[in-house]
Symmetry: C2
DNA sequence: TTGAAAGCGCTAACAG
DNA sequence: CTGTTAGCGCTTTCAA
């Protein structure tokens, strides 16, 4: 491979001049520039990225860390990548498969200057272990960190009002008993959903249902499992609220197979407004998940001084389809 | 950030020795090793990747190039990434959005030593433009390149027999007229499917249908469009064969909405056996798409001398569900 | 078993 | 406007 020296020789100039041409920095006469550009073209030269990065002390590469690659995660990753690409940043995706060590190793890449910043979608380590890394580069997350005094930005969105929105709509259409299919026991989203549900119950003077065993449910298999749990219930609920479209799709799928009619026999609602909700025609909540991914990137680039992007507002919107009245 | 020199000083040894410890190369006495390891731990040292890469002339990073991020593509990317990760390789995903220049720029990263090898899922440039890059690193693709004399490996799988399998099964169950919803007009998969269909027609002495306007159909929107095209037909077919589960999901979705019963009114078959086919309960063909992604990685690592992996065999299997008799 | 020294390819002062 | 020079942080001969 040709190096900058080869180009310099070929063009009869110094390496510094070639560098100036490549980077469009400093003064270069039009003639010299042309000669250099021709040499570059002739020798088919591409600068060695490692040398550039070593010299500059930065990459134009953002890391994306997740613990799973399910649809709702992908729905954030894609717009993030696209936005980064447009800003001329590269992205590297790391799946930790929920292994805390892998997560730490990946954060080390920030130290190793391999990554300029990180979009930490799902974390597995304590914040106290993660935060020290911010001295090596910005970190943005999907988690809620409002209460914590951390140097980490977040694109978290409080599910409370979105969830309440669903409940109220179901109520208006006659539903009186509900099952909340919830995710991570410790997650903030679960807490906020529970809060919304409890508040709702109080306002409408109804008895809340037991959250167990509907906690910690995830993935398509989780959705199938939820259906079995509901089947085992003595009193069937009027409506099932899934915490994601992925779960909802599995539930809807099972009901279709069993000939359970929606919304006549039971209502089902998802969350996220992914393609699947459209395809399977079930009610869900949209909150610009796409823009959320982009916002993560905007935040990161702003912190890196690579732009001054305004964040897009994220609003809840109920998307009514055929699984609710 | 601490550098190798800092560690050397701290441990009272030379940088060379630290390097030996880091890389587990050459001779280091147990004592020295311990002292160095302690220094590394104390100073929280992580080697600068760019310096390493510059020195070594290689990264442990594989590029994945695609022109779109739809489900069938993701279904290959995920296992590829996982396999690479396990072999201690990093992956970087590039979406060209069908822009030939972006594709070339990404291939340039091979030259720039930024990528050790490339999984070129979908290409947009001519092979003649792509092949020269193989001198800078191995390229593996999903495209068929059997006929061409290229230095590019492929995990292509001929759809002929898989497609024939579907047709025969439909025939046995009474279907006599078909619509083939086909992809890229120039793609080999389309050609092989057409060949399978024409052979099938000849064997069963039936008249093939016009391929137009069912060519070049892709994405969910494409599936919706296909349904409209079929509606406009004078004679309704007994069965619709989609070239991917994505297309099939859109078709099935539309039919559900319109109250068209499957398989009573019409049969629908997909291809790929993605999650969605299971969720929406439609018949499809499995051919270890997951292993195909891994094979791509195996091939790449073999070429890089980073292993001697055996390829997994890819076989067709008809997965019958409720959209066919 | 260890250290000295050279150099991977590039950029950025600085001097002219 | 252009060239000289130093050095980013690491690995790898070579010599001791």
């Amino acid at each position: 491979m040709a190096t900058i020296q080869d180009i310099a020789k070929h063009a009869g100039v110094s390496a510094a001049t070639v560098s100036r041409v490549i980077n469009n920095s400093g003064y270069v006469s039009t003639e010299t520039r042309q000669v250099v550009e021709q040499a570059i073209a002739e020798l088919n030269y591409v600068p060695n990225t490692h040398a550039q990065n070593l010299r500059r002390g930065s990459t134009r590469n953002l890391g994306i860390i997740t613990s799973t690659l399910e649809d709702p995660v992908l729905a954030r990753i894609e717009p993030f990548m696209q936005f980064a690409n447009e800003a001329n940043y590269t992205t590297t995706l790391f799946n930790t498969y929920n292994d805390p060590n892998r997560e730490l190793e990946t954060l080390d890449r920030l130290k190793a200057k391999e990554l300029d910043g990180i979009f930490l979608i799902y974390r597995t380590n304590d914040w106290s272990k993660i935060e020290p890394y911010t001295q090596f580069g910005p970190i943005v997350t999907l988690h809620n960190i409002e209460d914590l005094d951390l140097n980490i930005q977040s694109v978290y969105i409080d599910h409370y009002s979105g969830y309440k929105m669903i409940l109220e709509d179901l109520w208006e259409n006659g539903a009186r008993s509900f099952i909340n299919v919830l995710g991570s026991r410790t997650g903030i989203n679960t807490k906020r959903r529970i809060k919304a549900y409890l508040d709702f119950c109080e306002e409408h003077q109804i008895e809340p249902h037991d959250f167990e065993p509907f906690l910690g449910i995830g993935g398509i298999e989780g959705g199938y499992h939820a259906v079995e749990l509901i089947d085992a219930l003595e009193e069937k609920p009027d409506a099932v609220l899934a915490h994601s479209d992925e779960i909802a799709s599995a539930i809807v799928s099972q009901y279709h197979k069993r000939g359970v009619r929606m919304p006549e026999d039971i209502s089902v609602v998802g969350f996220d407004n992914l393609d699947i909700s459209h395809l399977m025609d079930f009610t869900t909540v949209d909150y610009s998940i796409h823009e959320q991914g982009k916002n993560a990137c905007r935040l990161l680039l702003n912190e890196l001084g690579a732009g001054a992007y305004e964040l897009a507002p994220l609003n809840f919107q109920l998307i009514k389809r055929n699984t609710t009245k």
